[in-house]
């Protein structure tokens, strides 16, 4: 049996104005075929108006073990949110 075709991750824009969102993956010989397969597998009910396919091997992902190191520092910086600042009720439009 020959080897699997490479794996592509599939992203769909569900309608104009929205971002592309990951939905799953397909195998295909090349990117053009991956688009065709993604169309058959993921958009049988008008789920999208645009498709992206990216070779899975080209994606670099963060390591879950480093999640704390990466994302924890944002936790104590509540001053980045508008609700951190106390403004008297009488002040309008702020």
């Amino acid at each position: 049996m020959s080897n699997d075709w490479p794996l592509f991750e599939v992203f769909i824009r569900s309608r104009a104005g929205l971002e592309h969102k990951h939905v799953g993956s397909v195998h295909a010989a090349d990117a053009r075929m991956a688009i065709d397969h993604a169309r058959d597998v993921y958009t049988r009910r008008q789920e999208g108006v645009s498709l992206w396919v990216v070779k899975s091997s080209d994606i670099t992902a963060s390591d879950p073990a480093e999640a704390d190191a990466l994302f924890e520092p944002a936790k104590d910086k509540v001053y980045r949110h508008p609700t951190f600042y106390a403004i008297p009720d009488e002040v309008k439009n702020l």
């Binding site: 049996m1 020959s2 080897n3 699997d4 075709w5 794996l7 939905v23 799953g24 993956s25 397909v26 195998h27 010989a29 090349d30 075929m33 058959d40 597998v41 993921y42 049988r44 009910r45 992902a61 390591d63 879950p64 073990a65």
Partner: protein, 332 residues
């Protein structure tokens, strides 16, 4: 992967690794208990990974093999409308297989390995697809009963602890409802048709009822995986609970159709929504699982034939892609 590294480690190391693994497992279970989702790159116990690979790949195979009994009637559908609907349904089943293979691949098994297991006959798929579709009414019965039972099984899996499986299942469940309703519509049309058509609907129910109940798997007493799968939140209800729910909602539907469920012991319990039903023939279930159902051999032969006859297409596409790539490199 701790389990793979064990051989290479000394005894002290081994002890330490075990302690460490136990800690990781405890933390993993705590996350699952807190209804957090597990994603592909997260640490997970090897048994959790293997259980999911087994379950998701079996589920994917069932979708793919499930295309065969219904595909059998595409060329003979009674009207153009029925034909268009059946083609769309069978195409959906293929799509469901693809979503599920794609989810299983996130656990580290390749698509090729899974397909090899199916074609070699070492992987299981749902026992129901080893029964033949003898008349058009069977297409109605499959949609109504088989897809109905599948929905009952699959809705709780939308909340499964493993993210990719849960997401695939949400997509599948959205599409599955059309399958069941089109099946019921076929049954209703036949049941209200000529006496011969009514009899066709009855005959299909007679043949599909018990195999549909078997789709929920062995009884809770016999099910080896249930307790652990429920702890891991892969499974949310036991086989018997789901089977009971299915009988409870299906029995009144059969009554509406004016056809009789082939179970003399079936009756509604006094003052309750629940139905009591007769004993399932588990010997038949085991025989079908072992490969001795009416169509086991035929189904696998059809899959192997499709796979072999498509080999040149896969090779040609790969060769074409290689040629395009090398041309692009030369041009650069």
């Amino acid at each position: 992967m701790y389990t793979q590294a064990l051989d290479a480690l000394g005894k002290d190391c081994l002890q330490e690794t075990r302690v460490e693994t136990a800690g990781l497992e405890a933390r993993f279970q705590a996350r699952v208990d807190a209804d957090e989702k597990v994603e592909p790159k997260d640490w997970m116990p090897d048994a959790y990974r293997q259980t999911l690979i087994r379950q998701i790949s079996q589920h994917a195979h069932s979708e793919i093999v499930g295309m065969l009994p219904e595909g059998n009637w595409i060329t003979r559908a009674p009207t153009l409308r029925r034909k268009a609907v059946l083609i769309a349904k069978v195409q959906d089943e293929g799509g469901h297989g693809m979503y599920l293979y794609s989810a299983a691949e996130t656990l580290g098994i390749s698509r090729q390995q899974m397909i090899e297991q199916l074609l070699a006959g070492t992987a299981k798929y749902s026992s129901i697809f080893n029964y033949p579709t003898l008349t058009w009414a069977d297409i109605g019965a499959i949609g109504w009963l088989v897809d109905g039972a599948a929905i009952m099984n699959q809705i709780p899996i939308c909340r499964c602890s493993y993210g990719p499986y849960a997401r695939a299942m949400v997509r599948i469940c959205k599409e599955e409802s059309f399958h069941q309703r089109q099946g019921f519509e076929i049954m209703l049309t036949l049941a209200r048709g000529t006496p011969e058509q009514h009899q066709m609907a009855q005959d299909a129910l007679n043949r599909w009822w018990w195999p549909s109940l078997m789709m929920f798997g062995p009884s809770d007493k016999e099910s080896k995986h249930t307790a652990q799968s429920m702890r891991w939140k892969i499974k949310r209800f036991t086989n018997d609970e789901l089977r009971q729910k299915f009988v409870d909602i299906t029995a009144p539907q059969a009554q509406f159709l004016g056809i009789t469920i082939p179970d003399p012991e079936l009756r509604r319990e006094e003052g309750s929504e629940h139905y009591r039903f007769g004993a399932i023939d588990w010997d038949e279930f085991q025989a079908v699982l072992r490969g001795n159902g009416p169509c086991n051999r035929e189904r696998l032969e059809a899959r192997r034939k499709a796979h072999d006859e498509g080999a040149w297409v896969r090779e040609a596409a790969a060769a074409y892609a290689d040629k395009q790539r090398s041309r692009a490199t030369q041009a650069a």
